[in-house]
């Protein structure tokens, strides 16, 4: 891989910002840089300059770039212990005071997290009455999430995770296997609203009982984490919950004092102040 200079990365981010109104200037530098050099190799660009040129000339190409620059790796029931806490503690707690639950998956990628949630809620008997919104910055990945078709080889891990969550059913009843793919049961996401939404430049659009934003903010630097966290805070009802990735932390964000830690191991926070 060739070495890329930070000035070139900045130029790239500036171009995108001016032309397409996406702001990558505060993405975490090292991983962003690595994604860029991967893209240079993938599309056989000689340098960042040629990538910038292509992006400014072609909107269609920019869409491809957007899809490649973001990291979409995900799985169902990632961190099984988190999902158990959600089912056994968090959701029952919300149900004490509410009849319905609203959930936002911010940065849902190809949808595995959303299907996991739907399965969990279904087994709790509250899927029908729940409202779920699932968003991502990447239009291509949102299309994948809507389809819910995954390579069958991924299902092995998903199945193992489901077992560790101790679900009540046979996992394979939730999908059909055809030509090497798992087709998820579409009724699970009938009531899910999949939308394109940019956490950086997008508006706060609603309020939820639970916001899931797992393994998304790790791609941001601390300044941006702080800004985005403010928006997430605004999108949660008072006494609602925020779940972030198991190796993320809020403690260095200004707004952290408006949350309390409900479960430190699984990184679940509760909003206690407006």
């Amino acid at each position: 891989m060739q070495e890329i200079h930070i000035v070139d990365i900045r130029k790239l981010a500036e171009t995108i910002k001016e032309k397409y109104n996406y702001d990558f200037t505060n993405y975490a530098m090292s991983s962003f840089k690595r994604r860029v050099s991967r893209i240079l190799e993938l599309y056989k660009f000689n340098n960042v300059e040629s990538l910038i040129k292509k992006i400014s000339e072609s909107e269609a190409y920019f869409q491809e770039f957007l899809s490649e620059i973001t990291v979409n790796v995900t799985e169902m029931f990632r961190d099984p212990s988190f999902w158990r806490v959600l089912r056994d503690k968090i959701i029952p707690n919300i149900l004490l005071n509410h009849q319905k639950i609203s959930i936002w998956h911010a940065g849902c990628s190809s949808g595995e997290e959303v299907y996991s949630m739907a399965i969990l809620l279904k087994e709790m008997g509250i899927l029908e009455s729940s409202k779920i919104v699932a968003t991502d910055i990447d239009p291509i990945i949102i299309e994948k999430a809507k389809k819910g078709v995954y390579p069958i080889k991924n299902m092995d891990l998903n199945d193992k995770n489901y077992l560790r969550v101790q679900g009540t059913e046979d996992f394979n009843k939730y999908y059909e296997e055809k030509n090497g793919y798992a087709y998820m049961d579409k009724s699970l996401v009938e009531n899910v609203s999949f939308r394109i939404h940019d956490l950086v430049n997008g508006m706060v659009f609603s309020k939820f009982d639970i916001v899931m934003c797992r393994n998304v903010m790790i791609y941001f630097n601390q300044t941006l984490q702080n800004d985005v966290l403010k928006k997430l805070h605004e999108s949660i009802f008072k006494y609602g919950y925020l779940a972030i990735g198991s190796k993320e932390s809020l403690i260095w964000c200004e707004i952290a004092n408006k949350f309390i830690v409900v479960n430190n191991e699984e990184k679940v926070y509760k909003k206690i102040k407006e």
Binding site: A28, S30, D79, S81, I218, E248, S249
Partner: protein, 198 residues
């Protein structure tokens, strides 16, 4: 064994290891002075879906606790860090950690190359890179980058390794400064620590 270019200009030690490195790592961590002055940043191949246990196992014999850092946590002098399960661990320019879930590199997540390369960019000539026993080539490019940026490179003597693919791969593409047994790596780190004590 004498180490010619040992001095107090270094600011971090980064260690990569895979199959067959656990014993060596444990020996190193239990035989460095408690006051070891630099951060030790470890990227070791580990089971992807077992989050707990490894850090604890390494901590048992270590002279200081082993920490799995959070995303964006600052690197502190004298602490021992371990890349968490199923995340790549980058070192940013401001000497903070940054985690990522992107695809595996060299069949590995965490990938040693990612940690080594990014620490080389971050610490430049103030970095010591150590690569131990392992069964694939992860880490070789990282060691090359450390050398290119002016850092000091050490591999575990392949003759001593349970599986020598990893150090051998590094030796093949880079003029590594020292090829040492675990015993001598320990001596090296103790000598190094002395340079900082006054």
């Amino acid at each position: 064994m004498r180490f010619a270019d040992i001095n107090d200009s270094y600011r971090a030690v980064v260690i990569g290891g895979s199959a067959g490195s656990f014993q060596g790592i444990t020996k190193i961590l239990s035989n460095i002075p408690e006051s070891f002055p630099l951060p030790i940043i470890m990227c070791l191949h580990r089971l992807k879906h077992v989050r707990n246990g490894f850090m604890e196992a390494l901590s048992i014999k270590s002279v200081k606790p082993v920490i799995e850092p959070y995303d964006k946590e600052g690197i502190k002098k004298g602490k021992v860090y371990l890349a968490p399960a199923n995340y790549h661990m980058y070192i940013e320019l401001g000497h903070t950690f940054a985690l990522s879930t992107e695809s595996m590199v060299n069949n590995s997540r965490p990938s040693i190359d990612i940690t080594l390369e990014s620490s080389a960019y971050s610490y430049k000539q103030r970095l010591i890179g150590i690569l131990l026993s392992g069964a694939n080539k992860d880490g070789a490019i990282g060691m090359k980058t450390i050398k290119e940026k002016g850092g000091l490179t050490i591999v575990q003597d392949p003759a001593e390794c349970l599986i020598d693919t990893m150090p051998t791969a590094a030796l093949r593409i880079t003029e590594i400064d020292y090829t040492l047994s675990i015993e001598n790596i320990i001596k090296f780190l103790n000598e190094l620590a002395k340079k900082y004590s006054n």
